[in-house]
Subunit: 634 residues, 2 copies
């Protein structure tokens, strides 16, 4: 296995307009406003142990579950996001807000290291009795990710120390010993967090605990969650999901071949599996990841890289079930797909992973965050009749901080390297450097990506040296061209979607890469019956949609795009501080002559019109209205 | 208000092949097999009071509700259906089965007349404490309909006596008096049943009780269901539906202008409202019916006359929300729409009501019963990817007996009359007679309807007399022609969809009516965004669908019907004992060159094929497979 490592996100300076704006918005608006929401929604108050505990703000649902059990994770994720902010720019107010949270967690932590505000505050005698549903280890994972990020941003170790004590407690609690529980969390997350901790502390025991959880998952009989249910006096048959596919624990992970269950749970699991495949050089685990990857890519991914069509299980159903209007496609799932894709990419430098990473980043994930940085989508439908609207918060606010932490650390996805290779995965205007065996190489990539595919890269090694620069040529791109210092590089050298340029690089070497950005029509496999007769538009990495505000004449469901219409690319400086729209001659179905008739034998009349499409991630930033990604093709 | 009355169903002999076959199947198979199912599913056992009561066969759902509370209604409906069978042909075995049920109801009835097996057997102290949810009056209504039908079929009064005692108890319990409850049932039904009782006994008090329930409905504040909830120690805010639209009790009925809530509840209510509008000559009530009729027709009815898109409330959502694959369109709702349409038709002889009655009868209702007479659809989707299948019974078996009682009494929908007018609403081969002021008129209508529109009617008055024969000219028909004794009747005389022929009729007069049955393409209002770019096929009253078994090459979702393709009518003697299919040149999207690609830029290839459509009501009689009503139009 070829092992690439990403350049640290905070060592990547975002200079291009697109990501600079998104990052600035997250730093300036999203992080402070999310702290306010944590206050407003009483999440921070859960740190103040009160007797008796206050009434539930979010009552238990029909499955006897309240979202309040994962409030610890929300605070953990906010600390992580805020720490990414601090990595970019120290901020005394944010730091004091983090410290105030850490103070209270520290005070609440039990002498044995246990730390969970729900159980400590409300059900102290019930801890570790329902890890299928109640997210104790999931919370620990997000708190740990936050602690790692805060340590890396500030060097302060207190929060990490607290979490390490908690992890010690978890290590004592779970394991093969006679007094230990052979369990694992119903919501995967701690596994990937432990690997992050291992990367900081290099302690093998942290990796071992992640391996234990991964290897235990799905072992049976007996199934741990059934054992656990019986132990607390519950009938396993009462489990609302009926089987363990919901938490990907229906089989040992190496035997799993189909992507099932809750989408975010699945993506967090596969991320940890791919991480471990790399750390352990475990070919079987890597193979399992590849099989699962193939399954989701061939049958289960929206064109936006949204995952999980169903609200019922927040997850997967059957192959090719990709309804548009009711698409759940949780923001978190696309964010987590980015994590998984990055891990796969570092196992094999293969453009298929980077293509999906990019697709999720610019579409299904980014759509979750509004232009103003404080409104969100939890579900990301591909069609709306005008009823969908962004939230300023959510009962379960997981997505709000997931998309924010993604943007806060987005620099980490652009460039990776080995000892003697550099790989550019994304473009968008960055400067960074990579430490190769031969010495440090400063890199600067200048572009107006994703609006333009004209890319200039400066390669500046401290001293001239031979190494390889791999440039990703996206699969959406036809006719890419590349030159070094004005001399063409033949594109036939492409390997798995990357153009490797191996040479002796000198200070001041210049790569010119041109990725022509034609507007493409995309069709779905006919097995996706919802999209038959429909076409989606894409330019560069951006999937487009038509929104009512740009298209007069009622709901955009009434527009048809003739196959013969050419797609015109328009740079619009007046819209969203500059975007590229696509326009085309189209047909609009006439409604006004229908009166009160619901049915008639005369075909609807059609008029000629012009259709205007905007990037999908920007929809629902100008009030409510209808929206369509898959446009009927006339 | 012009007042037509239907000819009694058992005085209409079904001689045409279509209805003869359906009725024979119900008599021979459906009625006996449903009695078996009542046994198999322990519904009959609920008549045997056991202490302690046996465990629930169907556990309470998340709303603390079990379908077992309406088992009495299932037995009432089976008795009603079986009695319709007896009206056609006495059968000692069926009669003894009915008598055995009546024996047990009689034995269980309390001294004060109360009769409900759920409450008597399980919660005797809780009767009349939750009529919002627990169906006591609804059950009484179906038991009463059964008692009326059994009395009319056999002249035996015992079951009717039992029910009249129960109704006396209900009359004492509900009303404006200080010791009475000002309530009404959460599931309408008893209102229309009381009117049926009134028609048999002519006692005004039965009509008055129906009027009381109708007039009380939706009065507030306080709302009766809220009062009742508080009285039993329940918080009205816990009501799962959150508001009273579910049971059409959100407003007094005369103020209601939008069709809302549970579809079957709504249709039963409107049926009773229209009944009372006629009985009371109540113009305001009639107006309310007309406003509601317009609302459902303009915005909420599937082309199959299915009603209620949503499984969540088994009912209505927002205007134009008519999803195909997830259509709930409960069989009972289409059956009940037929009841309502018939009442409207008897208020005004207007073809719009008969058109809908016919549409519901031949499509949304009849689809609920299989060819073999013992498999059912509860929900009637307009599209399937192959997962839908008929049931041999249902947890809540309401639809099974609703469609059976409809077929058992279908003769009652063909002909109505006043003192001096006769109206033919449906055709299909019947003989009957109508008692006019001038004397008795024997009528014989000979046709192979709905497969052919060539109709011959013999009018045989006992003595020559002047009266009017009104012939319905369906709105789907263009170019109808009519003659009496060979002499053309000008079609310009058409009034509200009926051709009135007023003349001095003589024995042996012959009407020839030709209703050309072209195959029509039907389009949906563009506000129904699910059907944009799609076309439905209809011939005569039958809506068609394409089913996988008739169309090779995978799911029928991949077929497109060019607008230019002509529809060919084929009489197929080999299929379902003779049906008319529609065929057309079509395009099929090619799937095999897609391999594992989920998306691609190349448009799907298409091949030419022939599409074969069958009547919708016949779908899912040849195993599982995909099905589409609204076909993409190329």
């Amino acid at each position: 296995m070829r092992q690439f490592s990403p350049v640290k996100f905070n060592e990547v300076k975002l200079e291009g307009a697109f990501w600079k704006e998104r990052l600035d918005t997250v730093l300036r608006t999203t992080i402070p406003s999310q702290h306010e929401k944590l206050g407003e929604y009483k999440i921070l108050e859960s740190l103040d142990l009160k007797q008796p505990p206050p009434p539930l703000r979010f009552p238990r649902n029909q499955h006897n579950f309240t979202v309040q059990v994962f409030w610890d994770s929300d605070m953990g994720k906010w600390i992580e996001t805020a720490s990414y902010g601090l990595s970019h720019k120290r901020d005394a107010k944010i730091e004091s807000q983090i410290e105030a949270i850490v103070d209270k967690f520290e005070k609440a932590q039990l002498p044995d290291g246990y730390l969970n505000m729900w159980y400590i505050g409300r059900e102290p005698d019930k801890r570790w009795t329902n890890i299928r549903d109640n997210h104790e280890l999931y919370n620990a994972g997000h708190m740990l990710e936050g602690a790692v990020a805060y340590f890396l941003a500030t060097g302060r170790r207190r929060w990490l120390d607290i979490m390490e004590r908690f992890i010690e407690h978890i290590r004592k609690t779970f394991g093969p010993g006679p007094s230990q529980k052979p369990g694992y969390c119903g919501h995967e997350e701690i596994e990937l967090a432990l690997i992050k901790l291992y990367h900081v502390t290099k302690e093998k025991k942290q990796l071992d605990l992640a391996v234990y959880f991964i290897n235990q998952r799905g072992k049976q009989p007996p199934h741990y969650f059934d054992q656990e249910a019986r132990a607390r006096g519950d009938d396993p048959a009462n489990y609302w999901f009926k089987n363990h596919e919901y938490s990907q624990s229906h089989q040992p992970v190496r035997e799993q071949t189909k992507v099932v269950g809750h989408a975010v749970r699945a993506m967090y699991l596969y991320t940890a599996m791919a991480d471990l495949a790399a750390e352990l050089q475990d070919a079987a685990l890597k193979k399992a990841c590849e099989v699962l990857w193939h399954d989701v890519m061939a049958t289960k991914m929206y064109i936006t890289a949204g995952l999980g069509p169903s609200a019922h299980n927040e997850g997967f159903t059957h192959d090719y079930d990709l309804p548009n209007e009711t698409a759940y496609a949780e923001t978190c799932a696309s964010v987590a797909l980015i994590f998984w894709a990055q891990r796969m990419l570092h196992l094999d430098l293969d453009g298929q992973y980077a293509d999906v990473l990019e697709r999720a980043l610019y579409n299904g994930a980014l759509s979750g965050l509004s232009r103003d940085g404080k409104h969100y989508f939890y579900a990301n439908p591909l069609e709306s009749i005008g009823t969908a609207a962004r939230w300023d918060w959510h009962t379960c606010p997981c997505c709000t901080m997931n998309v924010a932490r993604l943007v806060g650390s987005v620099g980490g996805y652009f460039v990776s390297h080995t000892e003697n290779e550099i790989a550019f995965h994304l473009y968008g205007g960055i400067s960074t450097s990579a430490q190769l065996k031969s010495g440090k190489v400063a890199l600067r990539e200048v572009s107006n990506y994703p609006w333009s595919g004209d890319i200039a890269i400066e390669v500046n090694p401290d001293a001239a040296a031979e190494f390889t620069v791999n440039l990703r040529i996206p699969s959406w791109c036809k006719g890419a061209k590349c030159s070094v210092n004005g001399k063409a590089v033949p594109m036939k050298k492409l390997v798995n979607g990357y153009l490797p340029i191996k040479r002796k690089w000198q200070k001041g070497d210049k790569i010119a890469l041109t990725l022509p950005m034609q507007a493409n029509r995309i069709y779905a496999n006919p097995s996706v019956n919802m999209d038959i007769g429909r076409v989606a538009l894409q330019r560069g990495p951006l999937v487009y949609c038509i929104e009512e505000v740009d298209n007069s004449g009622g709901p955009v469901q009434r527009l048809k795009l003739p196959r013969s219409s050419s797609l015109k690319i328009k740079h619009r400086a007046d819209l969203f501080d500059g975007v590229v729209t696509l326009t085309a001659k189209a047909k609009a179905i006439v409604h006004k002559d229908w009166k009160a008739n619901l049915y008639r034998t005369e075909a609807p009349r059609e008029t000629l019109t012009t259709l205007t499409a905007i990037p999908y991630y920007l929809w629902s930033n100008r009030g409510q209205g209808s929206m369509v990604v898959w446009i009927p093709e006339a």
